[in-house]
């Protein structure tokens, strides 16, 4: 592990992620998480959508900071990045969006998700300070594996933020576990190889992947990539601590956005209905 020993202990100010898992554990429910690209298609429409997510049953939100070259993403999320960028989106505006969200919602964990270059250009220390001040709880950096993350992890630890480790079936434990205090929050289990929006893994393969994660790590395990339908989300929710649905929901919302103003009450109602439909099936699973 290349992560160095931090100068000070992580002292999360909020512990929103841990509080969420405690709450869901008491209620015997898996976490239901979705993803949206910040500023897609505008700052205001996106902010309204984030609140709608929570109102209709989302427990945690992954917020993508838009990037010009989203190499790990399939067509759906590539297009979302393009829409957000053309509306003036970037890492700074994303942090402003998080801060705006926090003025009304102090409990829903926000996980920033995106690519390394904007973080590197902002500077890890400056980024971590600003993200913490904006009410961000953790970071998923798709092209920032733990073996490269030493300086980033130290900066995150100073400001009480987590880097969410990503696990895949082919990965050695050293590539998704670490003693560094900034590595935590939950373990993001990716049961398939390939970019986002790709094919789905079988529920057996997912269950095996989750079991391996639980054997190697003490973190709660969430499954993402390739979860497309309410039934599949429910299956995943049975074997993991949480399920992440991103591309499938963006595709649905995007279809509706062809006809509707994405900030209109009609569109937000539709978002709520679809989230609610997933939530209902997930919660009904035995």
């Amino acid at each position: 592990m290349s992560a160095s020993i931090p100068c000070e202990q992580t002292t999360p100010e909020t512990q929103r992620i841990a509080a969420m898992f405690r709450r869901l554990n008491d209620a015997q429910r898996p976490a239901f998480v979705t993803y949206t690209v910040a500023g897609d298609p505008s700052f205001e429409a996106c902010l309204a959508r984030l609140h709608q997510f929570v109102a209709s049953g989302i427990d945690m939100i992954e917020i993508g900071h838009p990037f010009s070259d989203p190499i790990l993403d399939g067509a759906t999320i590539q297009q979302a990045n393009i829409r957000a960028l053309s509306a003036g989106g970037n890492l700074e505006r994303t942090l402003e969006l998080c801060a705006a969200f926090r003025t009304q919602d102090t409990t829903t964990p926000l996980i920033l998700m995106g690519y390394a270059n904007p973080l590197a250009v902002m500077g890890y220390e400056r980024f971590a300070a600003r993200a913490a001040a904006a009410g961000v709880d953790g970071l998923i950096a798709g092209d920032f594996p733990l073996r490269e993350a030493g300086p980033l992890l130290d900066a995150l630890a100073h400001h009480g933020l987590y880097l969410i480790p990503m696990a895949a079936p082919t990965l050695a434990p050293k590539d998704f576990t670490s003693e560094h205090p900034a590595v935590g929050g939950f373990l993001y289990c990716i049961p398939v190889v390939g970019p986002t929006g790709g094919p789905s893994a079988s529920i057996n393969a997912i269950a095996e992947g989750v079991a391996r994660c639980l054997a190697e790590s003490s973190l709660p395990v969430m499954v993402g990539f390739g979860v497309k339908t309410p039934a599949m989300a429910a299956d995943v929710g049975r074997v993991a601590d949480g399920v992440i649905v991103a591309t499938a929901l963006i595709d649905l919302f995007q279809q509706a956005a062809q006809d509707d103003d994405p900030a209109s009450p009609d569109f937000l109602n539709y978002v709520g209905q679809e989230i609610g439909r997933f939530r209902k099936v997930i919660d009904a699973a035995p």
């Binding site: 010009s68 590197a120 490269e148």
Partner: protein, 397 residues
């Protein structure tokens, strides 16, 4: 400055540049590749096979040749070309395409995927894949494909599946991203063939090792020719020919190594490809390196008349060598590069690519600062056949 200062140390770092900034799913694939490469590189049978293919299939060694009629003004240093434009397929890209396909075959993989900007890496890889009976998928940006229709046809003639990418800037960068996505989903059967010493470790070190044959040959040929050049000049796209040529001369402190970048349409640098001299430190396509990005870390579009130079990232090894001062940079405009290519064709009967035209124009300026007893080596990485459309267009300036 010794050689030791510029070999990859811990996990593929060149100084503070390099690394493995990839999706975690690719880490085991890269680890396997690193082991496979080290294993093959240490195996005399592999090296012999590689040398045989380079000599008889690629057409090495390529000649070193002077161009006395080229300069506009007499009296400057002699300019000699290292003529990798004379390989059979794909210019200098053939060196690493042969190496990487041979390695993939040895590792039991059945297909290869790559991207191409100038078409040369695609042609080289398609040809070698045909020879080895491997499946081959090649991504090319829509803008590059439109500019180089013959290259696309040639790849298809070799049996490659050519996929035209409409994303982003429709050039090399977009094609590379698409090839990476393809590879992420198929890495159990498919090798990614890097055209340049860019991307995550071990690609920069591995491609540099396969391209080092250019510098080794040049060194021996210079002894034969009785030349001790003062400078080596190479245009930088991904950096494969530049690192290949320069690698034999890092340790000669008396010689200048000059990497030439595309300055685009004019000297105002509106859109260009000069990221070694004007880029900022960032993380792009798998490595920490010098990148053309804005203050928010968004990758900037690049522009160059030479498709092979139009790329916003850079080889981490070159980034380190530029930052340490060992390698100098120069920027040459589209018009100057095109003029150099046309003049060389008319006066010497040698048609080089527009990429090499940048190095040629830079070398002519350098030569004028030197005496006639001195010499300058210019890297000619591929032929100008692919650029005939652009070269015969009426100049609008």
């Amino acid at each position: 400055m010794g050689l030791d200062a510029h070999i990859a140390t811990q996990t593929g770092r060149f100084g503070s540049f390099g690394g493995q900034f990839v999706a975690p799913v690719l880490l085991p694939v890269l680890d396997r590749l690193e082991d496979g490469f080290h294993d093959a590189w240490a195996d005399p049978a592999f090296r012999d096979r590689l040398t045989l293919l380079l000599n008889r299939y690629v057409g090495r060694p390529t000649p070193l040749f002077d161009i006395p009629a080229f300069p506009r003004e007499a009296g400057g240093a002699q300019i000699v070309l290292k003529r990798d434009d004379l390989t059979f397929n794909g210019g200098n890209y053939a060196n690493s395409a042969v190496g990487q396909c041979l390695l993939a075959k040895r590792m039991g993989l059945e297909a290869v995927v790559c991207e191409t900007g100038s078409g040369q890496n695609g042609i080289a890889t398609a040809a070698v894949a045909a020879r080895f009976g491997m499946g081959c998928t090649i991504y090319i940006g829509a803008s590059d494909a439109a500019r180089q229709p013959t290259a696309v046809k040639k790849m298809r003639l070799f049996g490659a599946e050519v996929k035209v990418v409409d994303d982003a800037d429709q050039t090399l960068s977009a094609a590379l991203s698409a090839a990476m996505r393809h590879w992420m989903g198929t890495s159990d059967t498919t090798a990614y063939v890097a055209g340049a010493p860019i991307g995550p470790h071990p690609y920069p070190a591995m491609v540099a090792a396969f391209q080092a044959v250019i510098g080794r040959e040049t060194r021996l040929q210079l002894i034969d020719h009785g030349l001790a050049p003062s400078a080596y000049v190479s245009a930088v796209g991904g950096g494969s020919s530049t690192i290949g040529l320069f690698s034999a001369f890092w340790g000669d402190p008396q010689v200048r190594l000059i990497a030439v970048e595309g300055a685009g349409a004019n000297d105002g640098f509106a859109a260009h490809a000069a990221r070694l001299s004007r880029g900022r430190r960032g993380i792009f396509h798998g490595a920490e390196t010098l990148v053309l990005s804005d203050a928010q870390g968004q990758i900037l579009p690049t522009r160059s008349i030479a498709p092979g130079l139009s790329y916003p990232g850079s080889a981490p090894q070159l980034a380190d060598l530029v930052q340490s001062g060992r390698v100098e940079t120069m920027a040459i405009s589209d018009a100057a590069a095109k003029e150099a290519v046309l003049r060389l064709a008319q006066r010497e009967g040698i048609l080089l690519c527009l990429e090499a035209g940048h190095a040629l124009a830079a070398a002519e300026r350098l030569a004028l600062e030197m005496g006639p007893d001195q010499s300058v080596v210019v890297m000619a990485q591929s032929s100008g056949d692919k650029d005939i459309e652009t070269l015969t267009e009426e100049t609008t300036e």
